[in-house]
């Protein structure tokens, strides 16, 4: 009773195979456009047939995404995309399932599904568009809005402490977390490729700019003037270095991270923390994900990528085992199993 995927030769696909005929209705200048382009660049290069992609979303500006991709897709209800994607993946584990969500959709109304999906490690790729505001409902604060920021529902500034998505992902035992900027197409493409290849739930936080309701939310990290001192491109196997002069770095001192300047106080490059994205222990990944200005630069790139058994694989293994070992092989045998009696 499995869904059969008809095996055909994989032909090289192009961006055009995935662009839909629908008019893209995001605001001009919105970061979403660049993300869409990057995804269109990634999909043809994954060696997956175009009919095997399913793009799922919840509600919000970002969640219009499935309509703009020529794939199978579902635009579902607010906060529930993770649950819907779970159903798609479990029903047919051979599909490549992508979930598009925003900070409100994912971490406010959808917070419960989000953490549980990550905990189960179902192989879906989550792209989280974090613009730190509610866009579609026109400018209320979200779970990632910085404390004190004034919005339509926080006229004196919010009182809430914001979530850092990376902390939630790693706290929920997530195995893949990466962070990218919507202004860096190459960075997005590279990270999306890695996310796609990772088996298990992958979460990419895209720091996306909403030009209308929270323009320049990520200014400090993106602007030419300040970015070098406030962002750190991390790479597996490389030391954590940043700054205009490439002379600042991160060291692990005792149980916490610290910013140092190379050449000062006898610090050399060899003293810096070297990034190991494959380390199973989440401790250092958590510290890197938590780095925030003004004390630290924001880490960009793949922070954590650890292989682990996926939920659907365990489920399929257990089905295969039961099919082999159960004495009941058919529905008729089930109906006739256990205590029965016959009236002649």
């Amino acid at each position: 009773m499995e869904n059969q995927i008809i095996e055909t030769e994989i032909i090289q696909l192009t961006k055009e195979d995935f662009s839909s005929d629908q008019m893209v209705k995001w605001c001009p200048g919105c970061g979403d456009h660049a993300i869409l382009h990057s995804v269109e660049n990634v999909f043809p290069n994954l060696g997956i047939r175009k009919e095997d992609f399913v793009v799922v979303s919840g509600i919000g500006c970002s969640s219009r995404f499935p309509y703009y991709m020529n794939t199978y897709g579902v635009h579902s209800i607010h906060g529930r995309a993770a649950a819907l994607a779970t159903g798609v993946k479990l029903a047919n584990p051979k599909l490549s399932v992508w979930m598009i969500t925003g900070d409100g959709d994912c971490m406010a109304i959808g917070g419960n599904h989000f953490i549980h999906t990550i905990r189960r490690n179902i192989d879906i790729n989550i792209l989280l568009f974090n613009n730190k505001i509610y866009g579609l409902t026109k400018g209320q604060y979200s779970p990632t809005t910085p404390k004190g920021h004034k919005t339509k529902t926080s006229p004196q500034g919010t009182y809430e402490r914001p979530f850092n998505p990376g902390e939630l992902v790693i706290g929920a035992q997530g195995n893949f977390f990466a962070r990218v900027l919507d202004t860096n197409p190459k960075g997005m493409t590279a990270v999306f490729m890695e996310a796609a290849k990772h088996k298990g739930t992958s979460l990419v936080e895209i720091m996306q700019n909403c030009v209308i309701f929270f323009n320049k939310a990520h200014e400090l990290i993106t602007s030419r003037e300040t970015r070098d001192d406030n962002q750190l491109q991390i790479e597996h196997g490389k030391p954590l270095i940043f700054g205009k002069e490439k002379n600042k770095g991160i060291i692990l001192k005792g149980t916490r991270l610290e910013v140092v300047t190379i050449g000062e106080n006898g610090v050399t490059e060899a003293d810096l923390l070297v990034h190991d994205q494959y380390e199973k222990d989440p401790g250092v990944h958590m510290m890197i994900a938590r780095m925030m200005p003004p004390e630290f630069p924001v880490a960009l790139g793949v922070i954590r990528s650890v292989a682990a058994e996926t939920f659907e694989q365990s489920m399929m293994d257990s089905i295969a085992y039961e099919k082999e070992h159960s004495s009941i092989k058919t529905v008729d045998e089930m109906l006739n199993s256990g205590g029965t009696w016959t009236i002649e």
Binding site: E51, K323, L335, G338
Partner: protein, 615 residues
């Protein structure tokens, strides 16, 4: 081993109630007696009465667990009103169950438990076996605990294990009373506890001791026998409503060729459906225990989009949580079956008690115009066919179906004639064909108005669906005013046209009966029992029991129109009657409602119907 010393009297039907403390093993005792009843060829139905607390204090009324069985030489429709025989293992179980026994019933007690401490814990002021409370009953006081200890003395067991077998002593007595062969139960123990011969020996010894005690001490003047019921030829089993529901879906998956996916969250009294389906990985069933009710249904919608026969199971409060997602399934026009095992509400209400009070929620409990098909199972065994039909309608008409069952059906069991899967109706979902050049997501079948089901992975059918209003045909997002009106009509009409694919409403009794009794869903057994009984007495009563709620069968109006005197009976405050008044306001309806977390009793309905006949 069968009894020999007393005179055997033949009975037409009997109701027995086993009651004891939660730890006394009354459910097992009851189910073993049921097995022996099946073996004797009787028709029967059972109902467990669990305490709502998981570990209520021992010996208290709130910790009493009961099991009722009704068996007969005629067809049995319910688990019975009042008991002819009550087995009470302690004072609390006597206290909790006295209201469920017939006048003059036989009450079998463990006299060892009737000590001051015991009856005080149960809330008795004095010993009920001595103060006249039991006058008028045939009371059999047996020192069950003492004799149990005696029976296993040679096995050198610890006290805990010894006391665990005393339910077998009580069962032995009842087996003797009804001339049953205890060999069947011995075999059960031999098979089930193969690895633990001591347990087998202990239970067998105690069972035989109970049986022999009843025989040698001649505690009964008479013993009883119920002749086999004239059941149709075939193979039978005993089945609970929840298992029947699960199996109905498994059979529907087989007949439709669609893999079965369940997304669910544990909730009383629906959880056993999830558990049962989880146990059938051998048949490739995917049962997903989600983080909450919403994820349960939404994961099912994802699976449905992906081509599965997708279902979600819940009870009233869970149905509330699923409302928004049901709307998504209506909008995306995907197949989905939502099972609501109804319980007493509102809010947490009476989780372990049955009610029919989610009907209006099922009909109307969603934002926007969101019609769904609604079916209501009429008995525990019928849950199988209802789940099957719900799947068939949902898959073939591409729209969600709510299947209403209830706590009584779910936990109750009855005799089920085992069908052959190949004999069940075919289910043919409207699958879109790969690379169909004419495929459009919302192009409709002209008869059913269903759209085609295009499954991810199929070449040439990539398309998007979602909760935003869709343009008819193309399925593109549309805010066009006239399109919205058209789509609203289409979704409504699609559900209404299901009336062409369901059977007409039947009536039990004469078309011109003076009184038409109307009921729906889980009350079928008791309604039929009453109406049958009154018809035998020559009363002009007929029964129209509804299983198809939305849409109603096509002949409903005509059928109701033939009767001046209509009474609608429900375990709620009058929901189906409201729905009938809304649809057919030209008729006059009387109503009989019970909202006590209890089923209808034959006697109360009979009184009411006689009253209406004499008006």
């Amino acid at each position: 081993m069968t009894s020999k010393n007393s005179k055997v009297i033949e009975l037409e039907q009997v109701v027995i109630r086993f009651a004891g403390d939660s730890g006394d093993g009354m459910q097992l005792t009851g189910s073993l007696f049921s097995d022996s009843t099946a073996f004797a060829g009787n028709d029967f139905a059972t109902f467990p009465d669990y305490p709502s607390e998981i570990r209520a204090p021992q010996g208290t009324v709130s910790g009493v667990s009961g099991f009722q069985i009704h068996f007969g030489q005629k067809t049995v429709h319910t688990s019975g009103d009042l008991a002819d025989v009550l087995i009470a293992m302690n004072p609390a179980s006597l206290k909790a169950n006295m209201r469920w026994v017939k006048e003059g019933a036989t009450i079998i007690l463990d006299s060892d438990a009737f000590v001051e401490k015991g009856f005080e814990k149960a809330g008795y002021k004095s010993d009920p076996t001595l103060d006249g409370s039991l006058d008028g009953f045939k009371v059999i006081k047996s020192p069950v605990t003492t004799l149990t200890k005696e029976a296993v003395k040679h096995l050198d067991l610890d006290m805990k294990t010894t006391l665990k077998t005393k339910n077998m002593f009580a069962l032995g007595i009842v087996m003797y009373m009804f001339n049953r062969d205890i060999e069947l139960i011995n075999k059960y123990y031999e098979k089930k506890f193969k690895a633990n011969p001591l347990v087998v020996d202990a239970n067998k010894a105690v069972l035989a001791a109970g049986f022999n005690y009843a025989d040698t001490l001649e505690i009964f003047v008479n013993t009883y026998k119920v002749e086999p019921a004239p059941l149709e030829k075939g193979k039978y089993r005993n089945i609970t409503g929840n298992v029947a529901t699960a199996w109905g879906f498994i059979a529907a998956a087989e007949r439709s060729g669609r893999p079965l996916f369940l997304g669910s969250y544990p909730i009383t009294p629906a959880t056993e459906i999830l558990q049962e389906l989880t146990n059938h990985k051998n048949l490739s069933i995917k049962a997903f225990q989600a983080e909450d009710e919403i994820a349960g249904i939404v994961s099912a919608i994802g699976a449905s989009y992906t081509g599965a026969l997708a279902i979600t199971t819940t009870s009233g409060p869970g149905l509330s949580l699923k409302s928004e997602a049901i709307g998504l399934a209506v909008m995306t026009e995907l197949p989905l079956v939502i099972v609501d095992v109804q319980r007493g509400g509102p809010s947490t209400g009476l989780p372990t008690k049955s009610e029919q009070s989610d009907l209006l929620q099922a009909l109307f409990g969603r934002n926007g115009e969101a019609p769904v098909i609604i079916l209501a199972a009429k008995s525990s065994a019928d849950c199988f066919y209802s789940a099957f039909e719900a799947s068939k309608l949902s898959l073939e008409h591409m729209t969600p179906v709510i299947l209403l069952t209830d706590g009584s059906l779910a936990n109750g069991s009855e005799v089920f004639k085992i069908p052959r899967v190949a004999d069940l109706p075919a289910i043919v979902p409207p699958l879109a064909e790969a690379n169909d050049p004419d495929y459009k997501p919302y192009r409709r079948d002209p008869e059913r108005l269903s759209r085609k089901w295009a499954i991810p992975g199929t070449p040439g059918l990539r398309h998007r669906v979602g909760g935003l209003e869709k343009e008819d045909g193309s399925g593109n997002v549309s805010h066009d005013p006239l399109n919205h009106q058209k789509m609203t009509f289409l979704r409504e009409e699609k559900v209404q046209r299901v009336a062409n694919y369901i059977p007409e409403q039947t009536i039990f009794g004469s078309e011109d009966a003076e009184l038409l009794v109307v009921s729906w869903g889980g009350t079928y057994g008791v309604m039929l029992t009453v109406v049958e009984k009154m018809q035998e007495q020559g009363k002009s009563v007929a029964l129209a029991h509804f299983k198809h709620i939305m849409p109603l069968p096509k002949n409903t109006e005509e059928l109701l129109g033939r009767h001046k005197n209509i009474v609608v009976c429900e375990i709620n405050n009058g929901q189906f009657v409201k729905y009938l008044r809304m649809n057919f306001p030209q008729f006059k309806y009387q109503q009989y409602n019970k909202i006590q977390g209890l089923p209808f009793m034959v006697a109360e309905l009979e009184t009411k119907f006689n009253e209406l006949l004499n008006q």
